[in-house]
Amino acid sequence: MGVLLVAALFLAIGLPGVSAQVPTLTLWYPAGEITQTTLPLRDPTLFAPFEATARVKVEMVALDYDTMQQKIFAAAAARNVPDILFIDTSWMPGFLKEELLEQVDPAKAKRWLAAVTPEIVELSDYGKGTMWGYPQMGIDVYGLTWNKQHFREAGLDPARPPQTWDELRDYCRKLVKRDATGKIVRVGYAIRHVGHPHGVVHKHLWAIWGAGADLIDNPNALRGGRVKFNNEGGRAALQLVLDMLNVDKCTSLDFPDPRAAFLRGIASMQISETVSIRARQPKEAPDMPWTTGWGMALPPARKAGDKPATLLGAWLFAVPRGAKNRDLAWRAVEWVNSEINDYTLARKFGLTPRYKTNWQKEPFKSDAYAQALLKMAPYGRRLPINLGLNGIMDALGGAIQKAWHGEATVQQALAEAERLANKAIADAAK
C-alpha cells in the first residue's frame, strides 16, 4: 500500500514535470467573424501533425479583434509576447516602428515569392523581397456582390454586373425600391458611411484607386511621403456616391451596414469582402445561394477601358521579436504555410490556396467560386505600410463621412483630410 502511495505521488509530481518539458508555442489570432481566414485556426487539431513530429504543443488563443493590437503591444512591453501572431496588416506600420516583428529569412522569402500567385506576392513583398510574415490562406478580396433576383425583377441581366461607374448609377436607379410614401425601402447600392473611419475607407478604396488617386505617393515607404487623394480622381470618387445619394436618389444613409442590408434583401448591390458574404449567406440568406442567388465580380471601373482596382484584405502569420521559442515558432509558421498544407487546409476549410501549383489541382481548378476569386485577385492592392497609415485612414474616412453627410463639399472635405493626413505622416515619422 505504501509503495502504491509513493508511486502515485511520484506520478502526480513527475508527470506534470515531464509534460512541462514539452515546449508550448502560443499563437494569438482574432476571435469571431472578423475574417474567415481564421477558420483553420479555430480547429484545435490544426497543428497536431507538427506537434507530434516537433514534440511541441501549439496553443491557439483567440482574442477580441478591437483590443488585440493593444494586447500585443502590452505583451511585448511586458516581455511576454506570444510566439506566433496572426495579425491584420494595417497594424504593421506601428509594429515595424517599434521593431516588434522579425523578418522572414531572405532565402526562404525568395523561394516563397517565386512559388505563390501574383496577388500573394503583392501581399507578401514589402519592397525588394522583404517579408515580415506569411499572408493568410484564402484570397480576401473586396468585390461587388449583387442580388440576381433583384436584377431579374428590374429587367437587368443577372449574369452581368455593372462594368463602369455610369452603369453602376444606372443599375442603382433601376434597382431602388420605394414604399407608398416615397421612402426608400431597398437601395440599389448600399454604402458604408459610419462606424470606424478605416472601414469606411476600405469600402471605397476601389473608387479612389480606380479614379487614379491613392492614399499615399509611396506605399512601401515606412516614413515620410504625402497623400495623393486630394486631386481630380479623389474628388470624382467621393462625388460618385454623392450623385447616387442626391441626384439619382437610389441609395440612402439609412442603410449603414451594407453586408447586412445585402443579406437581408434590402440592398441589391454592395462592395465589401466577398469571403464574408460567402460565409454569412448560408445562415443569413439561405434563399440566396451562390451563382443562382447572388453574384460576385470586380468593382466597376471609372469608364470603359479603365482597369478596375480593389482592396486585398491581408492578414499575416508573423513571429515577434522576443518570442521565447523563436526557432520553433518559425518552424511552425513554415509548416502551416508549406505547399502541402496550403492545399490540404484550403481544401478542408473552403479557402483558396496560395501556391501556383495548388491552383492546378482539384477542386480549385474547376470550382467556380475559387476561379472567380482568382480572376479578381490580380486587380487587388494591399494597404500601404506607412507609419502614418492610421492617421491617413482616420482623416480620409472623416472626409468621406463629412462629404456624404452634407457637412462639407467634397473639395473642402478632401482639403482638410489632406492637411490632417500629411500632418499625421510627419508626426509619425518623428
Binding site: 521593431e99 458611411h193 492610421n390 457637412e407 508626426d427 509619425a428
Partner: protein
C-alpha cells in the same frame, strides 16, 4: 510625583504610537495598492509627457515641452476638447436638475414608488458597454425603437448616431439616462436629511410649494448639489466607454473626446509621450474646473 507624571506620559505616548502604527498597518494595503495603481502611473505619465517614448525599444528621448506645443497646434485634439466640453457642460447640469426633480417627486408617497425608484436606478448598475450596445440598436435609423416611435407619431425620422450633427447629442442623451439614477439616489438621501420642521414652519408662514422648494429645499441641497456637480464633472471629462461603443469617435470626429483621442494616440499610433501630454492636460483641466466649482458652490450653502 513628577516622575510618575513623566512615566504616565511616556506610557500614553507609546500607546498612542502603537495605536497609530496599528491604524496605518490596517490601511497600508490600500495605500500600497493606491500608490502602485494610481499615484505611480500618474507620476510616470507626467514624466513620459516630456519624452518621446518608444516602449518596446526601451528608449526615452527628452523633448521638453514639444509634446505640449504639438498639442496646442493639433486641431483634432482641439476638436476633442470642444466635444468633451460640450458633453460635460450639457450632461452635468441636465442630469443634476432632472435628478433633483425626480428626487423631490419621489419624496411624496404614492403607489409603486419603490418600483419606479428601482427603474430609474437600474441603468446605474448596468454595464456601460452592454447598455451602449443596446442603445446603438435603439438608435438604428431603420430598425431602432426611437425612429419607430417617431414614425408612429408621424414625426420625421432622425439619423441619430449616423449624423455628425446628431451623434454627440445622441451620446449625451444616453449618458443622462445612465447617470440619472445615481444622482437621484444622492438627492433622495439629502432630502431625507432636511428636517420637516422647516417645511412646517414655512407652511405656517404661508409659503406655497414652489416657495418652499426655492427657499428651503434648494439652499439646503446646495452641498449635495456641489458634490454631484463636481463628481459628475470629473467623470464627464473622462467619458470613453459609451463613445467608443456608440460611435467610435465619429462620424468625422464629431464625437471624438479627449480620453478616446489619447487612447488612439497611445495604442494605435504608439505615441506614448504625446498621449501622456494629453492626459496631463486633461488632468490639469479637471483639477482647475473642480477647484473653481468647489469654491464657487460654497457661497450657496446655507444653515438654518
Amino acid at each position: 510625583m513628577a516622575s510618575m507624571r513623566h512615566s504616565a506620559r511616556a506610557v500614553l505616548g507609546r500607546a498612542h504610537r502603537r495605536h497609530y502604527l496599528q491604524a496605518y498597518l490596517f490601511i497600508s494595503p490600500v495605500i500600497v495598492l493606491f500608490t502602485l495603481f494610481r499615484i505611480w502611473p500618474s507620476l510616470q505619465t507626467l514624466y513620459f509627457s516630456f519624452f518621446k517614448v518608444e516602449l518596446l525599444k526601451g528608449r526615452l528621448t527628452y523633448v521638453g515641452l514639444q509634446n505640449f506645443i504639438d498639442l496646442a497646434q493639433d486641431e483634432i485634439f482641439r476638436r476633442a476638447i470642444a466635444n468633451t466640453l460640450i458633453y460635460a457642460l450639457t450632461i452635468v447640469p441636465v442630469s443634476a436638475f432632472l435628478a433633483m426633480i425626480l428626487a423631490v417627486l419621489f419624496s411624496e408617497h404614492f403607489r409603486l414608488r419603490e418600483l419606479f425608484k428601482a427603474v430609474y436606478f437600474a441603468p446605474m448598475v448596468t454595464s456601460t458597454v452592454a447598455a451602449a450596445v443596446v442603445w446603438w440598436w435603439l438608435y438604428n435609423p431603420q430598425f431602432g425603437l426611437f425612429n419607430s416611435v417617431l414614425r408612429l407619431l408621424h414625426l420625421p425620422e432622425q439619423p441619430w448616431l449616423l449624423s455628425s450633427r446628431m451623434a454627440l447629442p445622441s451620446v449625451i442623451i444616453f449618458s443622462i439616462w445612465k447617470t440619472l439614477g445615481y444622482n437621484m439616489v444622492i438627492y433622495i438621501a439629502a432630502l431625507q436629511a432636511i428636517p420637516t420642521m422647516f417645511y412646517e414652519a414655512a407652511t405656517i408662514d404661508g409659503a406655497g410649494p414652489f416657495q418652499r422648494f426655492v427657499r428651503i429645499t434648494l439652499p439646503l441641497l446646495a452641498p449635495t448639489t456641489t458634490f454631484i456637480l463636481i463628481y459628475n464633472t470629473i467623470f464627464a471629462f473622462q467619458v470613453f466607454d459609451q463613445v467608443l461603443v456608440l460611435t467610435g469617435g465619429g462620424p468625422a470626429f464629431s464625437t471624438n473626446v479627449v480620453v478616446l483621442e489619447l487612447y488612439t494616440q497611445a495604442f494605435q499610433r504608439y505615441r506614448f509621450g504625446y498621449a501622456s501630454a494629453e492626459a496631463m492636460v486633461l488632468f490639469l483641466f479637471i483639477l482647475g474646473v473642480t477647484v473653481v466649482q468647489y469654491f464657487y458652490s460654497r457661497r450657496y450653502e446655507v444653515a438654518y
